[in-house]
Symmetry: C2
Amino acid sequence: MEYYQGHSKYLLAVDCVVLGYEDEELKVLLYPRGFEPVKGKWSLMGGFVGEDESAEEAASRVLQQITGLDNIFLEQVEAFSKPGRETIARVVSIVFYALVRIHLHDKELLKAQGAEWHPLSQLPELVFDHREMVEKALLKLQQKAGYSLAGSEMLSERFTLMQLRKLYQAIYRREFDPGNFRKKILSLEVLEKLDEKNASESRKGAYYYRVKEEMVGMETSRIVKF
Amino acid sequence: MEYYQGHSKYLLAVDCVVLGYEDEELKVLLYPRGFEPVKGKWSLMGGFVGEDESAEEAASRVLQQITGLDNIFLEQVEAFSKPGRETIARVVSIVFYALVRIHLHDKELLKAQGAEWHPLSQLPELVFDHREMVEKALLKLQQKAGYSLAGSEMLSERFTLMQLRKLYQAIYRREFDPGNFRKKILSLEVLEKLDEKNASESRKGAYYYRVKEEMVGMETSRIVKF
DNA sequence: GCAAAAGTGTTTGCCATACACCCATGT
DNA sequence: ACATGGGTGTATGGCAAACACTTTTGC
């Protein structure tokens, strides 16, 4: 037991890279830091880990508090622990990324806190090492989306294959051939075709699909090579 | 600043999954836990993070202390933070895996601490969640080795293509065709052929190769599909 | 009719796999 | 001579990329 004695203890935080998809691009939820130091710069949403919860649970709780949403896709990215990473106190942060449906949000809740969605391609200056956290999170998402349809957590529950393709284009910052993408995705056999069509985004109208219930979160064969 | 007040602090540990390669299999360095609780069970090597170091630096320091080696390949696996994961105190552990050359070790140093190399395929019972750490570390190594020759950190600096192939077979627990493996690896253009041959492992003798100096740690195109 | 996306089919080339085959050499 | 790994070449199948083409429908 004296093994545990005499060692320093640290504040343990979680930071969440909350990602959403809107206007054919990925966005990250930021809020202005309201206190010193670095007051005014933009920050990821974070919080401290309580005594009765894991970092995963803390991240989930923070997300619930800030977005009002439950059951959010979360994956651990990495722990950031450099001594000087936050200037005031030593804080070790475990970073997660979260995938959310932007339009389901309680806009009032976000506005009340000054939170805003920022396109990933034009981030403002972020506090501390939060920019690096965003970059690492994107890499992790790219890995994940290469072997699953987890990215669809950012779309409506029903989506067309064009919507899914444009999402993938946003995630990987490259184009996918519409025909080939369709064949690839359908060959995975994780989507089920619905009877309804989306008539608003094309003349002809495209069928809606959704992830088969039993396939949510499942790994697939490789979708994107990188 | 009061933002930082009133939050709990925790012990922050690092645990290292030290991996080596010997007798055509992967091995992990374990040592018997010498104190309660769970005295006698096997444990990964770990330590606490000091005030002036990052988790990476702490892992590197712990490795140096225990193996006597410097400049070891290290990669972060994941943070483990469940409240009850260690029974006595709340300890958050950041897990790393390390790749080392078993034969370079100071055997005396290890023996003095009771440390032993255990084949990954026949692990004894481990303390707490250390077994899960080992499993996650192996997955991470498989990912890494699929896009780099980082695994060769477990071989001598000079190695034959058969040695490299058998290493890959150990990492992925499957066979690779000798001819195809050779062509694949050489096509990466990260190895340089040396003039010397290894005469001890075959009649004909196989040329030694080594990773080109400027290519150490570099990502390659995909080596293994999974 | 035209434009634009939906959806299907075809062609091509690359690459992974399987495997045949000769080489060199210690026993 | 022969067994063993070293090293090279080749045939095959599958799949990804490129792209042609038809369908549908709002304008």
